[in-house]
Amino acid sequence: MYKCVIAMLFVTLIVMPLSAMTAQQIVQAMDELETFEQSYSEGQIITTDRFGEKKSTFRAWSQGTHDSLIEFTSVAERGQKILRTSGQLYLFYPDAEELIRLQGAALRQGMLGSDISYEDMTGERDTLSDYTAELLDTEQVQGKSCYVIKLTAKTRTVAYPIQKLWVDTETFMVWKGEFSTQSGRLLKEMEVLQTMTVDGRTLAQITRISDKMKRDSATEMHIDLLDLSVDLDPTIFTLQNLTW
């Protein structure tokens, strides 16, 4: 009996790190890691396929959970801006002097055909409103202990019905992701190639996304600069600044 109690305590201690947090808490911590009061960033999206490399560069400002502004600085898109506020999206094309206001599904679309949606560029992240989370296991990825989380879509409006994420047990950064169809067919794979520490948070600096449906195709997202202690002028998130 005594041996049995000791064995049960031992098993509990071993399993405790895995069960100390629920899947929901892990996903919330993952979302919170990428939610900033204010931020300024500069980066680039590099797409590589068999025809070569395409690079788009951008500057981005975000404030709270609703406001964000992205300005593209690469040649083909120079000066194009996207302002997102609560429930609405404004696009500005400087050559045509065209200001377009969009609502609804447009907010979930990817920027420049990439996997990064307008919602991803803001602090408004609520993974659990679209997915149910399940904690599968813990595994090592790039030498780091990670929770393995399976996300199953609640709605049909999301791009990936199934996501499998490897979330760092200490920093809650997502080191790796697999994005699949309902039937389990792998569509895309994401991995963090390089990290950075900003204001005590460990965040992805270079992320690589491989398209499993296309041969020799991959997208890399580079964050070249991230300032979380910036004091932003509130007029940044106005039509005056968007059309400037």
Binding site: V75, R78, Q88, T157, A159, K214, L239
Partner: protein, 363 residues
């Protein structure tokens, strides 16, 4: 010789500007074939068309910005050189000043927009459905934009007459605001009534435009002319009242494809609602557009201007393939479907159908 001097002056000026700004060049090269069926004979044409658009933007810093953009075209359509934009913009503490050749977008609408009073977005003739921007005219203007809040402003515009006749000056004002989730624009313009059939000289044209979301993004606008001098007011009101409306929606297809659908309508409530051979100012025109983008490189589109009353249409189908950084291959086929006397006619000495195959490069 004169043309050569203009070009040399341009390149000298451009050389100085290049030193201050990083130029962006868009080179368009197209093979164009067309077929004209006059009813008695069929003629075909084939040739190459090229256009180089050069934009010299100021750096995105400071409180003054500007852009000079011009296009060199071959063959000359209609000019060898066109100034697309040439403006500066200065930001003052309480307002923003814009001076030069540019445009400003009033209301919403890709093809039909009753609120676009000073640049015109109601005509159906001569629209190039293979163009990236269906309405891109610019004019020499001076504008003042006064912010009233984060998403509210007043804008005033004065458009200088190109013939230097003071009486031909045009001017406009608009209020842009949001009420709950709906965008509202109210404004008006004093302008020339340049419609060929009801030319009464100058008119004041008020407009209202709305935009919102109800399952799909929607927009609508209406404008009407008040004749100035004040004669023929009732005729002008009846003849000039137009309503434009549109709906736009995008859905994800597959795991990364996107399908966007747009439908716009232009309504002349007192226009001609019966088919006619001599009065083509019909009461209703439609613009449907479907674009399917299966991935980040390919795009397929189908656009049409439809005149439902005489059952005629201009239809364009096209595809673009962004092969490399800034380099895109494209192809468009356009046909005119309709009988003699319709808005769009197949039998024509100009063009019944055309095919464009080409490439563009932005660097």
């Amino acid at each position: 010789m004169k043309r050569l001097m203009i070009l040399l002056s341009l390149f000298c000026a451009a050389g100085l500007l290049f030193a201050a700004a990083e130029p962006v060049v868009e080179l368009q090269l197209n093979h164009i074939g067309s077929l004209a069926d006059s009813g008695t004979e069929i003629t075909t044409t084939y040739g190459m068309q090229s256009a180089a658009s050069i934009s010299l933007k100021s750096p995105n810093t400071g409180n003054v910005r500007g852009d000079v953009a011009f296009t060199l075209a071959y063959p000359e359509t209609p000019d060898l050189l066109t100034i697309d934009r040439a403006y500066l913009r200065a930001r003052f503490p309480k307002f923003r000043l814009t001076m030069g050749k540019t445009r400003t977008g009033w209301g919403d609408g890709v093809l039909f927009n009753a609120a676009d009073l000073l640049f015109g977005s109601t005509g159906t003739a001569g629209v190039d459905l293979s163009a990236a921007e269906l309405r891109s005219d610019t004019r020499w203007l001076t504008g003042v934009n006064i912010p009233l809040g984060p998403f509210r402003f007043i804008e005033t515009l004065v458009i200088a007459p190109e013939n230097f006749e003071p009486k031909d000056t045009e001017a406009g004002i608009r209020l842009y605001t949001t009420i709950d989730s709906v965008k509202l624009e109210l404004g008006g313009a004093y302008r020339a009534d340049n419609r060929d059939d009801t030319n009464t000289g100058k008119v004041f044209t008020p407009y209202a435009a709305l935009q919102g979301h109800l399952g799909v993004d929607w927009y609508a606008a209406s404008s009407v002319n008040i004749a100035y001098p004040a004669d023929q007011i009732s005729d002008e009101l009846r003849d000039s009242w137009i309503i434009s409306a549109g709906a736009y929606h995008m859905i994800t297809v597959g795991y990364q494809g996107m399908l966007t659908a747009r439908l716009e309508a232009l309504v002349h409530p007192f226009g001609n609602w019966q088919q006619s051979d001599d009065d083509l100012s019909y009461g209703l025109y439609l613009y449907p557009e479907v674009v399917y983008t299966p991935d980040d490189t390919w795009s397929f589109l189908l656009r049409s201007i439809i005149s439902p009353i005489d059952a005629s249409a201009q239809i364009t189908a096209g595809a673009t393939w962004q092969v490399m950084q800034g380099f895109t291959l494209h192809g468009y086929a356009t046909i005119h479907a309709g009988e003699a006397g319709d808005t769009f006619v197949w039998q024509s000495t100009q063009s019944s159908a055309s095919l464009i195959l080409g490439a563009s490069w932005i660097y």
